[in-house]
């Protein structure tokens, strides 16, 4: 699920997120062993100085006096090691960053890819701002973590283990005391961690929500202004920001509790070591020097534990972000590519629809009992009211969705078995949504076929008789179309879409006619272009213009998810059914006026 998942992550451990995450990011494993080894030696390097101090105290300051030479040798060799650790640290840190960046890149790209594989239904139920958040801000939470937290986890854990080993060498009894005192931290951390993860997950939802609302305030700017809706919108945006703030402060509770708690346990451990050490020291064979050293070691334990508490917060944010991304990756892809793909034949393609039914996951039947044969090269008009199922029918022909039951055969091949590359090339839909990419007219046309050159695109423009139109644009073929293509009129966007389709040279063309009225000059150009494009191909038009229906070989009338009438225009008009009614309404609507 992408958005609005009601599922809470009760009782979910960080481990399960981690397990899923590791499976989703194979980059993590590349050279991981070596990197971890290096990180461990860097962590070991952190203990050089404390060990040196112990050594100097033990070996140089003896009862007989100070051995300066020995101290100097110890110190200078440690200096060499510390300088060495600088270089090791440099290499290691960069390796970690490299791994992290590769993981993030892979995750971004795979998530992006997956989102594009999801069905239209999935897309229309998610806000674009939220989808964008998944590949940007959610991944960014992981970036933060990768740059600091992940490194700290490795280095701190190594340091904790090493210090514990040295402690045991000094006194196993005192080590046991320290361990026992830290034991309660485990259940407390676990409890807090689960709550914290939930708090952060909720926070990510709030963040997506803010993005969604802000995105609406941007896209809907004109509507907001003409309706004097600015102040209410401002309140809504502020509310969303406030809700995000509130949730941030809920998360802050855990943030400000976890670390101090671990510190308190560390202090208690030191106090107890002092008490136990002084009281039972003699019995346990601990000298005063050793006890002082042990307290020093306890302090060394506090630092990495504190640091872990510090990164735990960041870890939770990252896990919550990761969780959201993994949820996207786990969303099932409805349209599965065939295992043994079959290419479509070339030339005009016939269509056979056999016993097709379609229903959305949530709703009732949209199409039922659809059986129809469209011969190759025919021009077919599909008409019907809103909700009659005609657009869904068009989508099934282009495999934007698969029928719930029955099958669609194009060129004699079941669409489910057609190779995606061949399908994209030979079956082309021109949607009424005239979305264009924010680049030039020519580039938008070139998108029609992979690897098409500018010359190919210009040829398509000429073939459809669009040269004059393009010549009239500000910068000709290099005119920028603006975001969503909104720099062009609705009709002009359709022209670009037609040229695009021409470039692909499909055998089956599905046209979803624009409902918006188009200015007359463009309209004339559009009709001519449409005619030229249709020549030699099977065309199925979801028709809103009567002229389209009049011109076509076959008219299919949809009503309530069924084909209720089919035949040529004149025959249907004579029949006096639904289509005849539609026709009359059209005549009544316009012709009498002029």
């Amino acid at each position: 699920m992408i958005e609005g998942d009601p599922r809470r992550i009760d009782g979910v451990s960080a481990l399960s997120v981690l397990r899923r995450g590791l499976a989703a990011s194979p980059e993590l494993r590349v050279g991981a062993g070596q990197t971890v080894l290096m990180a461990m030696s860097v962590a070991g390097g952190k203990l050089l100085v404390p060990l040196l101090i112990q050594a100097v105290m033990d070996l140089s300051i003896t009862a007989d006096g100070i051995r300066l030479g020995r101290a100097a040798v110890l110190c200078s060799s440690t200096v060499v090691l510390v300088v060495g650790s600088i270089f090791l640290g440099k290499v290691t840190y960069f390796r970690l960053v490299q791994t992290a960046e590769n993981v993030l890149l892979g995750l971004r790209v795979r998530t992006f890819e997956h989102i594009h594989k999801l069905s239209l239904a999935e897309h229309s139920s998610s806000r674009k701002g939220v989808l964008t958040a998944r590949v940007t801000s959610d991944v960014e939470t992981l970036t933060q973590f990768a740059q600091w937290g992940a490194v700290a986890w490795v280095i701190d854990s190594v340091q904790i283990v090493t210090v514990l080993i040295i402690m045991v060498v000094y006194s196993w009894q005192l080590t046991l005391v320290v361990l026992l005192l830290h034991l309660p931290l485990l259940p407390i951390f676990r409890w807090m961690q689960a709550r914290q993860l939930m708090a952060y997950e909720e926070l990510r939802t709030r963040v997506s929500d803010t993005m969604g609302v802000v995105s609406e305030s941007i896209h809907g700017v004109e509507v907001i202004r003409v309706h004097g809706h600015r102040e209410p919108m401002r309140r809504r945006v502020h509310q969303s920001i406030d809700a995000q703030f509130d949730q941030q402060m809920v998360a802050a509770r855990y943030f400000s509790l976890v670390l101090p708690l671990s510190d308190l346990f560390g202090v208690t451990a030191i106090a107890t070591v002092i008490g136990a050490g002084v009281w039972w020291g003699e019995a346990w064979g601990v000298s005063s020097g050793q006890l002082v050293a042990f307290i020093f070691l306890c302090n060394l334990l506090v630092t990495p534990i504190t640091s872990l508490g510090e990164v735990l917060d960041q870890t939770q944010t990252a896990l919550a972000g990761w969780w959201k991304i993994l949820d996207v990756l786990d969303t099932k892809v409805d349209l599965v590519d065939p295992s043994t793909p079959v290419p479509l034949p070339t030339g005009a393609l016939g269509v056979r629809v056999e016993g097709v039914e379609f229903c959305y996951r949530t709703g009732g039947l949209v199409l039922q009992g659809i059986d129809i044969d469209l011969s190759a090269g025919a021009s077919v008009a599909v008409v019907g009211e809103t909700g009659s199922g005609k657009t869904t029918f068009a989508r099934l022909l282009t495999r934007l969705a698969d029928p719930t039951s029955g099958q669609v055969l194009v060129g004699g091949v079941n669409l489910r078995d057609v190779s995606p590359a061949s399908r994209r090339r030979s079956i082309r839909m021109v949607p009424q949504d005239g979305f264009l990419f924010d680049t030039s007219v020519i580039d938008n046309i070139r998108y029609g076929r992979a690897g098409a050159s500018e010359e190919n695109a210009v040829a398509a423009i000429e073939a459809l008789g669009l040269t004059d139109w393009v010549g009239g644009l500000v910068d000709g073929i290099h005119t920028r179309v603006g975001e969503r293509g909104e720099g062009l009129s609705v009709g002009e966007r359709q022209l670009v879409a037609l040229a695009r389709a021409h470039l692909a040279d499909p055998g089956l063309l599905v046209l979803d006619e624009a409902t918006s009225a188009v200015d007359p000059e463009t309209e004339t150009t559009l009709e001519r272009a449409m005619e030229r494009l249709a020549a030699g191909r099977t065309t199925v038009s979801v028709a809103h213009r009567l002229s389209t229906a009049e011109r076509s070989d076959l008219v299919l009338v949809f009503d309530n998810g069924r084909i209720v009438e089919s035949g040529p225009h004149t025959q249907l008009v004579d029949q006096g059914g639904i289509y005849a009614g539609l026709h009359a309404s059209w005549l009544g609507g316009t012709r009498q006026m002029f």
């Binding site: 440099k90 940007t136 963040v207 802000v214 400000s256 019907g384 995606p420």
Partner: protein, 617 residues
């Protein structure tokens, strides 16, 4: 009041290619901190106090351990033993100092988080407020994804350097306390510290300078990436029908790869400076140790003094690390802040000093006048030139003209979306520039070409948050012929419609948009090609409903319709023929048929506008 604090009037970043370094990062960092401090002084103060108490508690802890070593441990284990009371006392003192330390951490973290998050909220408010207040032209030049990034990622990153702020400020107290203690032990020890810390500061500043350019580029790349993703998901239907997933993926991944390169550049610098930063204090302790041993040998200090000096020195390393973190975050933060300041430097739409509004909902009769109106785009393209016309109260007028004749611009001017370049648009005798957008909206309702619906319920989309009775809602839905399909929706008025109203057909969306406008009981209703997707018969019904008297005094709405359908045009009392940015002719449809240009256009409309059941689903 919030916004003013933000903008220092320095649009520092050239957003296109080639990042230019405007001013020292540290100076900008200090200014960023100062801005946040002035916004939320109390939270910051509490956090800094907490951090300083922590610093003192840490030093206190070393002192306590030192004394316990001398007075409890050594006599206890090497000497004659100690009383149970002194052992318990020692344990209690350690725990007590520990509790103070713990409490101080809690205070620091909570209030530091509060200050950071409050600053985020303030800046988010400010940025989104500015979005709502800038002239419309601002939106045309920027992709939505980038604007989103300003409100989200930029604010997040700008405040990320506030997180280590309190802790690193406590380094001052800690350094002073430690220095004094070191000085008390032996001047040579203090000297080591005095040499050490400026070196660290120098290294930090050098890093900060070097990392700025890749950090800025990285932040910029996040914006680009977000823009690409947003566009790609927005155009998903086209992507799918073109089978364009591969190309989109390539576009996105090459942008993501560019981002990775910038991040790696930052990582390379970090891996160069980070370990040095960490190792320097370590080397300092070694120097301290060897000097200490030598001093013990010469008899000027005791072993206990050396141990204490080293503890103090190592205490200093944690806040120094945090200070390093602050310096490392700084470039990213100030660059993000520059981008926020860039938004804040955008001038807001001019608002009248004393906006006039009309009383709502009673009988009103206002006249609309376009007086010698000209409009020229910022790029110099003149759209309207000497546009003169007026609409009588209650009159219904069709605005007709070829593509590019300036119809939509005229509508935008009337709706108060943009101000005229020359001349005046007056509503009820008052210029729109005096009325202000709110004032215009009080009497004029405009339904735009592209219908925008919020991802909310039908009800919320109609009322836009106002309190409206169900009767009123049903009334306007009926007038807009939308009652039928709304009742048919699963949850009626409470049905949630998707972003951009995707779950509805074009015609249904337009009908809701008309109902939304009607609900505001406008004196003047403007339909900018707003019925194009509606079935002609239904449209006729809607237009007839709009012609009925709506006000107590029996007045009708003034109606201005931009249309391409002859049927629509014919319903109007009068037709204005717009040609080349000014009115070429005015009169009834029949009268205008003699006008050259109009007749051609009308004939073309008849041919083209042959729409069959416009309600595409």
């Amino acid at each position: 009041m919030l916004g003013v604090r933000l903008g220092c009037g320095r649009p520092a970043l050239s957003s296109e290619s080639g990042y230019t370094v405007p001013e020292s990062v540290v100076r900008r960092g200090v200014r960023l901190v100062w801005q946040s401090l002035r916004l939320h002084p109390w939270a910051h103060t509490a956090a800094i106090m907490g951090a300083n108490v922590f610093a003192l508690a840490v030093v206190g802890f070393t002192v306590v351990i030192g004394r316990i070593t001398d007075e409890v441990i050594i006599p206890g284990l090497d000497g004659d033993g100690v009383t149970r009371g002194s052992v318990v006392g020692a344990v209690m003192v350690v725990v007590l100092v520990g509790v103070v330390r713990t409490a101080s951490i809690m205070v620091r973290r909570w209030f530091n988080m509060l200050a950071t998050v409050k600053t985020q909220r303030t800046w988010r408010w400010a940025v989104t407020d500015r979005f709502l207040d800038v002239p419309l032209a601002y939106y045309r030049s920027r992709p939505a994804g980038q604007l989103l990034a300003h409100a989200d990622a930029d604010v997040e990153v700008a405040t990320s350097m506030l997180k280590p702020l309190a802790f690193s400020l406590s380094v001052v107290v800690l350094a002073l306390a430690a220095l004094v203690s070191l000085l008390l032990v032996h001047p040579l020890f203090a000297l080591v510290a005095v040499v050490m810390f400026p070196t660290l500061t120098f290294l930090n500043r050098q890093f900060t300078r070097k990392v700025e350019v890749p950090a800025a580029a990285g932040q910029e790349a996040v914006g680009t990436l977000s823009g690409i993703a947003h566009e790609s998901f927005d155009g998903v239907l086209v992507v799918k029908t073109l089978g364009h997933e591969r190309v989109e993926l390539e576009r996105f991944s090459s942008s993501a790869r560019a981002l990775r390169e910038h991040r790696l550049a930052v990582g390379r610098l970090r891996s160069k400076y980070g370990p040095v930063n960490y190792a320097l204090p370590q080397l300092g302790i070694i120097v301290l140790l060897i000097v200490g041993v030598w001093l013990v040998d010469s008899g000027s200090v005791s072993i206990g003094d050396v141990v204490r000096a080293m503890s103090l020195f190592s205490i200093l390393t944690l806040p120094m690390e945090i200070l390093g973190y602050l310096f490392q975050e700084m470039p990213r933060s100030v660059v993000a802040m520059d981008r926020i300041n860039g938004v804040m430097a955008e001038p807001v739409e001019p608002r009248p000093k004393a906006p006039l509004t009309f009383k709502h909902g009673t009988e009103r009769a206002v006249e609309v006048e376009f007086d010698a109106v000209g409009f020229t785009h910022p790029d110099g393209l003149a759209v309207l030139n000497g546009l003169n016309f007026s609409l009588e109260p209650g009159e219904s007028v069709a605005l007709v003209g070829a593509t590019g004749s300036g119809k939509s611009t005229a509508v935008a001017l009337l709706a108060g979306l943009v101000p005229p370049t020359v001349g005046e648009v007056r509503i009820g005798g008052v210029p729109t520039t005096v009325l202000g957008p709110g004032g215009v909206a009080a009497s004029v309702a405009t339904v735009l070409q592209e219908t925008f619906l919020f991802a909310d319920t039908v009800r919320a989309n109609l009322t836009l948050g106002r309190d409206v009775s169900d009767e009123e809602l049903v009334g306007v839905l009926t007038a807009a012929s939308a009652d039928g399909f709304v009742t048919g929706l699963e949850n009626g008025l409470e049905s949630v419609i998707g972003e951009r109203g995707v779950t509805l057909s074009g015609g249904q969306r337009q009908r809701l948009a008309i109902a939304r406008a009607l609900l505001r009981c406008p004196t003047v209703l403007v339909l900018d090609d707003a019925t194009s997707a509606i079935d002609p018969l239904i449209e006729e019904g809607i237009l007839a409903a709009l012609r009925r008297p709506t006000f107590a005094a029996g007045n009708r709405m003034t109606l201005l319709v931009v249309a391409h359908r002859l049927a629509t045009i014919r319903l109007a009392d009068r037709v204005l023929f717009l040609n080349d940015g000014s009115i070429a002719a005015s009169g009834t449809h029949e009268e205008l048929l003699d006008v050259e240009g109009y007749a051609t256009l009308a004939r073309a409309y008849e041919m083209a506008g042959s729409q069959l059941r416009g309600d595409g689903n």
